[in-house]
Each structure stands twice: as C-alpha cells, then as structure tokens.
C-alpha cells in the first residue's frame, strides 16, 4: 500500500467519526497546551534570569582574589597574586586573557565638584578582550599616563560638597539631568586626600596632600561590571600609589601620633604592600573563551589556592533550581497529556471493535498486516498531531494573555522580559511529543487489529 493511501484511509476514518475524533483531539489539545504553557513559564524564568545575569557582567569572566575562604569554613588563606601566578593562569587551557587589577580609592575634582572614585589600574592592551566598550572618546593606550576611562555612571558621582542640603550622597543613574561635570572636557585632578574639597578640609590639623592631573579620554558603554569604576593604566597607578605611600610615611613621621588630629587617608590599596618588589594584585580577571569551560577553569584556580568567583557560580546554582522547577511544571503538564493518551487508546480500541469486519475483509483481500497496523497507528498519530498543533496555537494565545496580564500587574519586569516564552523548539517539541503519545497510545490497539482473525471477521452473522 502506498503511504499516501494509508494516510488517506486514516483521515477518512477520523473524519467519519467527527464527534469522537473531536473529543479525543480536545484531550490531546488540553494536554499539549498544559505542557507547553507550563514549560513556557520555565523558559520565561530562564530567559529573565539570563537577561539579569548578562546585565551583571560577562559570563566569560572569572574574578580571582588573593584570599581564599575554604568552603568548609576556617580561616581565610592568602596567597600572592603576582606576575608569576598570572603567567600560570595564562597557561590554563581555555583561558583567553588574564588581566591583573590594581585598585585605589581616589577623590576626583573639577571646579567645585568632587567625586569618590574607585580607580582601577589595568593593562590597556587587554581592554578589548575583557569587553570594554567605549561609548564616547577612546579606550586607554599603552603610553597614557593620567588618562582615565570612566564607567558610564561615574560622571554622575560628582557633587558640590558646599551646596546646601548636599550630604555627599551619590546618586546612581541619571534622572534626565546631565552630569555636573563633563569628564572628557573639563579640567580634572585626582588625589588620595579624601577631604579634598570638603568643608571639613579646612579644620586644623588636616594635612593637605598632593594632587595629580587627570585627563578623561573616554566613557564606557553601560555594562554590569564596569559602570561604577574608572580605569587607568596600571603602571601609572602603581607609580601614584608608591608616591602616596611615601607621602603617607612622611606625614605619619611629622605628626608623630598627635592626638585629636584627623587623618584621612586611603588604606585600601596595594594589599601586598611592598611596592618595590613584585607587586601582588588584589584582583585578577580571567577570561575564558568557552562559557561552558568557565567552571573548569575556575576550579583549577581554586585548586591553586585562590578565591575565584564568576557569574557561572550563580548561573549554575540557578540552573539547577530552574531544572527542578521546569521538571515539576513539565510533569504537571504531562499528567494531562497522559490522560489524553488514555483517551486516544480508548478511541482506537472502540474504532477497532467497530471495524472488526472491515479489518477482516481487508486481510482477506490481501492487505498486508503492516498496512493495517499503519492505518491505526497513523490514525492515532494524526489525533496527536492535530491535537498538538492546535494546542500549540492555543498555547501561544494563552502565553500572550499571561504576559499581558503580568505586565499590568508588575511593572518591574524590565523591558522585553516575559513570564511565559514559547520558543520554536518548545512548539515543535510539544507537537512531536503529542504525535509520539498518539503513536504509543495507538500501539496496542493497532497490534490488536493486526491479530484479529480474518475468518472470524467475515463469518456471516
């Protein structure tokens, strides 16, 4: 028999018993819809999460710290994160680039405005590898000295300490107003003196400190990891820090521990301290080309005794939770498809019972058993297919309704985020599952049809 004829016979029989076919089909439709809608919520959660994650930073990056907290508790260990170690990191398979960071907290000033800035010294040649993207101006060059690239939010940190009612609060994000300082054009200075520009700077005993010239050369695009810092060439920052160290020693010596005096100075830089020797960095960023290798590389770094963190940690945890949630959602949907499959089986058995005689005639007329089985299997599969296909159509509608309601109920979802997402693979998989369920549900009935005795079927009466 031609496959088109097998299909034709199956279709003919389905159409002949419209009510029954429709009822069975509705069962499959509900089953498919519940699976698809349930899974779509899982997918939606996954998308929302990935979306949030990518706003937090790159999934390719591992942040390495010199200190390491053993997972089973105990004291923090510390190891030197020096250039030798960095070489070792570069050797790890899958590592694309390694970028040591030197960090200092400085005060920037322009005219009456000042800002507390987290200044990070980096190797300018590695900026591109670590996804630094410029929005205005340019990235750093190797021979830059006081050149600074600002994170997108940093220009908004500037405030006027003498303005009435200003308590020095940093306002994140722009409220439509441009930042008070144009960091690319206005004259900038920076200093380790945290009191600079503040009203209390004039109090007796406060020692004025050096200021350095700074030149804003670029502003970065909005990104999760770099928005709240400013970047400078690491060699120049080293120099500044050494200079500052000397100055601090001098001040300390001259003051001799006089009581009552307030000394504001930075203590958060240069953890290794000894600047003349091999520098130990506080933080090193490691970029891994393949997202799926991040965890592996991260584990190797941990084995070397360093603290290593990445968004992959959060991602893996969340994925595990999501998998469980999706499995539960899918299972809830699957129950109704299971019930639908019983409906198909029942319909097929009824159909075969009614068509016993017809099946017998077919056999006597020389119809192959495989064609008889085929007719019934395809009939069941068609119920699955149509139920599944219509079910997907219904699912898209329900999904759209859920999302519309969700957007109205909670506005903080962020743009483009949806509660329910039905990607193409889910739609195709749902239809495929419905067809498969049809085939499975039709299997035993079709076996029964095959086994029917032709003679019994055609016996008179």
């Amino acid at each position: 028999m031609k496959i088109s004829d097998v299909l034709g016979m199956s279709l003919k029989n389905l159409l002949r018993r419209k009510t029954r076919t429709l009822l069975t089909l509705i069962g499959v439709l509900i089953g498919t819809t519940s699976i698809a809608v349930m899974m779509s919520i899982g997918v939606g959660m996954d998308r929302t999460f990935e979306n949030q994650l990518s706003r937090m930073g790159s999934l390719h990056t591992i942040t390495v710290n010199s200190y390491y907290f053993p997972e089973n508790g105990g004291f923090a260990e510390q190891k030197n994160l020096d250039d030798k170690v960095i070489k070792e990191f570069e050797q790890i398979e899958g590592v694309e680039a390694v970028m040591p960071q030197l960090r200092a907290f400085l005060k920037f000033a322009s005219g009456r405005y000042v800002a507390h800035v987290d200044l990070i010294g980096i190797d300018s040649s590695k900026m591109e590898a670590f996804d630094f993207e410029i929005s205005e101006g340019r990235l750093l060059n190797g021979d830059d000295k006081g050149a600074i690239v600002f994170g997108s939010q940093v220009p908004y940190f500037f405030y006027n300490p003498r303005a009435v009612g200003n308590s020095g609060m940093i306002m994140f994000g722009d409220n439509g107003e441009p930042p008070p300082v144009n960091v690319l054009e206005d004259k900038l200075i920076m200093t380790f003196d945290m009191s600079y520009g503040e009203s209390y700077a004039n109090q007796p005993g406060n020692v004025r400190r050096k200021t350095y010239k700074a030149q804003g050369v670029g502003i970065l695009k909005e990104s999760g990891e770099y928005s709240y810092s400013a970047f400078i060439n690491i060699d120049y920052l080293k120099k500044l820090m050494q200079d500052n160290e000397r100055e601090e020693k001098r001040i300390a010596a001259s003051q001799g521990g006089s009581e009552g005096s307030i000394v504001y100075y930075n203590t958060s830089y240069s953890r290794g301290g000894s600047s003349s020797r091999n520098t130990s960095y506080e933080t090193v960023l490691v970029k891994v080309t393949d997202v799926n290798k991040v965890e592996e590389v991260q584990n190797k770094i941990k084995e070397m005794g360093f603290g290593a963190y990445s968004l992959a940690d959060a991602r893996n945890e969340m994925k595990k939770t999501l998998a469980v949630v999706q499995a539960i959602l899918g299972a809830i949907g699957a129950i109704s498809l299971l019930v639908a499959s019983l409906g198909i089986t029942n319909t097929m058995y009824m159909s075969i019972y009614e068509r016993t005689r017809e099946i017998g005639i077919f056999k006597v007329l020389g119809c192959y058993l495989k064609d008889i089985r085929g007719m019934f299997l395809i009939e069941a599969a068609l119920i699955g297919f149509f139920g599944g296909a219509i079910g997907i159509g219904v699912s898209y509608t329900i999904s759209a309704i859920i999302n519309t309601i969700a957007v109205r109920v909670m506005m903080d979802m962020g743009e483009g985020a949806s509660i329910s997402v039905i990607p193409l693979w889910l739609a195709l998989a749902a239809v495929a599952v419905a067809v498969l369920v049809g085939l499975i549900a039709g299997y035993f009935p079709s076996k029964r049809a095959m086994k029917l005795s032709a003679l019994e079927a055609i016996k008179n009466e």
Partner: protein, 251 residues
Amino acid sequence: MKGARNISVEKSNMEPIISITNLSKIYRVGSEKVVALQDVNMNINKGEFCCFLGTSGSGKSTLLNVLAGLEKPTRGNIRIKNVSIEKLNEKKLAAFRQDNVGFIFQAYNLVNYLNAVENVSLPLMFKGVSKKERTKRAVDLLKAVGLSKHLRHKPTQMSGGQQQRVGIARAFITNPEIIFADEPTGNLDSKTSLEVLDLMAGLAKKNRQTLIMVTHDLNIAKRADRIVYILDGRIEKIEEKQYTGVSYEQN
C-alpha cells in the same frame, strides 16, 4: 458435436491449478473434536467453474477457506500453482492473495463508508496501484457489470443485487487466476441470483479464470462445470457436466 469439441478443448488443457491431497481439518471445541474435513483429495483445473454443493454444516466453507489460505489445514497439502500454500507465512499469503485470488462473499462484505468505485479498487490499493489508475480500472469494470449509474453510491444506497455486483467487480479487479465465492447468491432472490451467477461465470469464462463456488442450492450448482458433493467433510461424489454426461442425464 459441440459437446465433443468442448471435451477435447478441456482435455487438452487439463492442467490442475489446485491440487488437494489428504486434506483434513479438525476443530477442537473444548474437549470435543469436530471433523470439518476428512481426507479430501481432488484437483481443480485452470479455467473451470467448480462448485461445492452440500447441506449446511457439511464443511463446504471450511474447504473453501483452507484452499484460500485463510485457515491452516490439520493435515494434508494444498498446492496452488505449485506452491504449498499451507506453508506460507502471513505476509506471503497476503501477497499471494493480492496476485492470484479474488473473493466473493454471501454478505457482500463491502466497506460501508466507501462508495462503489472505492470498494472495487480496494484490492488494487493494497497492491500499491496509484489512485488514478485504480479508479479508472474500477470505473471500467463497474460499467461492465452494469453499475455505470451507481459509481459513487455507498453500499447502503444499493440493492442486494447491486451490492453483489460491486462485490464481483472487486473480486475481478486484480484479474486473479482464481475466484472464490462462498454462497454468493445466498442473500438474493432467485431471479437476481441467476443474473449474478451468469455475470460471475461469464467474466470468469471470458478470461479463463478458475471459479470455485460454494452453495447449498442445486439449481445454482447446476451452472457449474463440475459439482463436488460434500457430505460430512468428505467428497461424496463429483459430477462433470456435458463431457461426463452424468449430471446431464439427471436433468
């Protein structure tokens, strides 16, 4: 003169298309044994119209079904075109039926939801013949059996005689060498019975097809070339028309 020529024609073409040897069929119902066929031996020749005649329960249908491979014999051997059909598996039997056998039933056994053309083309569909081709052949044959006005009628929209004509067309559509007919006139009145019988026999004769019919009605059986009397699962006697002269004189 005419009879004499017939004899010579038949004799010169005496090639058995079916040969039955020591055929027995015993049913077991619980602990009871029902002997439906007992040691049947006979040959059926190509192109002949052979009729099994007997009372109800004598074993005629059983014999026909065993010959058609619908049932396995308990003992004995059936060779059709030199193939021992009792040894064929289901798949080969189906192929064998597609190629060599047509069936006509007492209850017509048409498929209710298919119209006349679709019913007639069923055996061709099972063989994998294209829809266009099989429809054409079915239409032609239905016209030949006098149903040109009923091509698209469903079985329920036709009389018994018309339905059996569809049944006959369906049996002949594949041009089989053998046609089995189990009480084909059993549900018809006597006038229609004879019409249907003539149609069947005429088609078979025209293409020199072997027609094997079962009936309990002597008047119907008389149309056959040979009558095989069945009694309690045995061949009681065989009458050959014309050339043996036995049944001829009885009439």
